[in-house]
C-alpha cells in the first residue's frame, strides 16, 4: 500500500532514530549561516542611507519575526494532522513548536521595540502589526498553558490542537496588517511578490539569517520531538533499546 511509508514515518521508534540522526545536519549549517549572517549584517553590510547603523537591528528582528509566524504555521498544521488522522507524532510536533515560537515572538517584539524607539520615537504603539504580533505571543502562551492544564497527554493534545488551529487566522492578519491598515511598520521588503527592495550586500546577510534561523528551528524541533515522543511512550519495548547507553 502507498500508505505504509506514512505509517513508518509516523512510528515513534522511527521518528526517534531519524530525528537523532538528522539533528546535526540541520544544527551545523544553522550555526554557520547565523555566524556568517551576523558578521555580514554587523560588519560587511553598508549603513542605511536614512537609518545609518540603526537599521542593523533588521538582521535579528526580521528572522525572529519570520520564526514567530513560520513556527506557528507549522504548529497549526501539525495540530490539524494530529486531530484529523489521530497521529500521536503530529501532536508531539505541535507541542514541541510552542516554546520555540513563543521565545522568538518575544525576541521579535523586543527587537522591534528597540528599533522603534530611535526611528519612530516610541518603544510601543497600539499599531495593527505590533498588536497582532503581541496577540501571537498570547496565543503561544495560551496554547502552552492549556496543555499544562491537562493531566492526560491525549486530552491536552486534542484540546490544544483546536486552539492552535483557530489561532492560525492571526498569521495572515500579522503578515497583511501593514498593507490592510495604516501602520507605522514598513511593508515587507523581502517576503513580497517581485524583487526585494534592498541592495545585495544588505540582502545577502538577511537571507543567510532567515535560512539559518529556519534550520535552527528544524534542529530544535527534532531534539524536542525526541523528548516528546519518549515521554508519550509508556510501555513500549523500543524505548529500552533507544535509551540505554
Amino acid at each position: 500500500m502507498a500508505w505504509t511509508w506514512f505509517h513508518k514515518l509516523a512510528s515513534p521508534p522511527h521518528v526517534y532514530r531519524v530525528a537523532g540522526r538528522l539533528t546535526p545536519w540541520l544544527a551545523w549549517p544553522a550555526a554557520l549561516l547565523i555566524g556568517a549572517g551576523l558578521i555580514g549584517g554587523l560588519v560587511l553590510a553598508p549603513p542605511d542611507y536614512q537609518q545609518g547603523d540603526g537599521y542593523r537591528i533588521l538582521y535579528v528582528h526580521a528572522p525572529s519575526a519570520w520564526m514567530s509566524l513560520m513556527v506557528y504555521t507549522t504548529m497549526a498544521v501539525a495540530a490539524a494532522i494530529g486531530l484529523i488522522w489521530r497521529m500521536k507524532v503530529a501532536h508531539a510536533v505541535a507541542a514541541s513548536c510552542a516554546p520555540i515560537g513563543a521565545s522568538f515572538t518575544f525576541a521579535a517584539l523586543v527587537t522591534g521595540s528597540l528599533w522603534g524607539a530611535p526611528m519612530w520615537g516610541t518603544y510601543w504603539q497600539w499599531d495593527p502589526r505590533l498588536t497582532s504580533e503581541l496577540i501571537l505571543l498570547f496565543l503561544y502562551l495560551g496554547y502552552m498553558g492549556l496543555r499544562s492544564a491537562f493531566e492526560e497527554v491525549q486530552r491536552a493534545d486534542r484540546v490544544s490542537a483546536v486552539l492552535a488551529i483557530v489561532g492560525v487566522v492571526n498569521v495572515p492578519i500579522i503578515h497583511y496588517s501593514v498593507i490592510w491598515w495604516n501602520s507605522l511598520h514598513q511593508a515587507p521588503s523581502v517576503m513580497r511578490l517581485g524583487e526585494p527592495t534592498m541592495p545585495l550586500p544588505m540582502l545577502v546577510p538577511l537571507l543567510m539569517m532567515l535560512l539559518g534561523f529556519t534550520l535552527f528551528f528544524g534542529a530544535l524541533l527534532l531534539v524536542r520531538l525526541r523528548g516528546e515522543v519518549l515521554s508519550r511512550e509508556r510501555a513500549a519495548s523500543w524505548i529500552s533499546a533507544a535509551v540505554r547507553p
Binding site: 551576523l38 545609518g52 547603523d53 542593523r56 523586543v110 527587537t111 530611535p118 519518549l230 524505548i239
Partner: protein, 54 residues
C-alpha cells in the same frame, strides 16, 4: 573598533537587540537539550519500575 561598538550612535538599541536574540537562541538550545535529557531519564526510570513484564 570603538566606531563599530558605537554603531553610528545607535549602540543603545542595536546591541541590546542582538543580545536578546542571541540569548533566546542560547536558551532554546539549553531548554531543548534539557527536555530530551529529562525524558530519557524518566523513560529509564519507568523501565526500571515496570520491570520485566514490559
Amino acid at each position: 573598533m570603538s566606531a563599530f561598538l558605537d554603531m553610528g550612535g545607535y549602540a543603545a538599541y542595536v546591541w541590546p537587540a542582538y543580545a536578546v536574540t542571541l540569548a533566546v537562541i542560547a536558551l532554546n538550545i539549553v531548554w531543548a537539550r534539557r527536555l530530551l535529557k529529562r525524558s530519557r531519564k524518566d523513560a529509564l526510570q519507568r523501565l526500571a519500575i515496570g520491570g520485566s513484564d514490559q
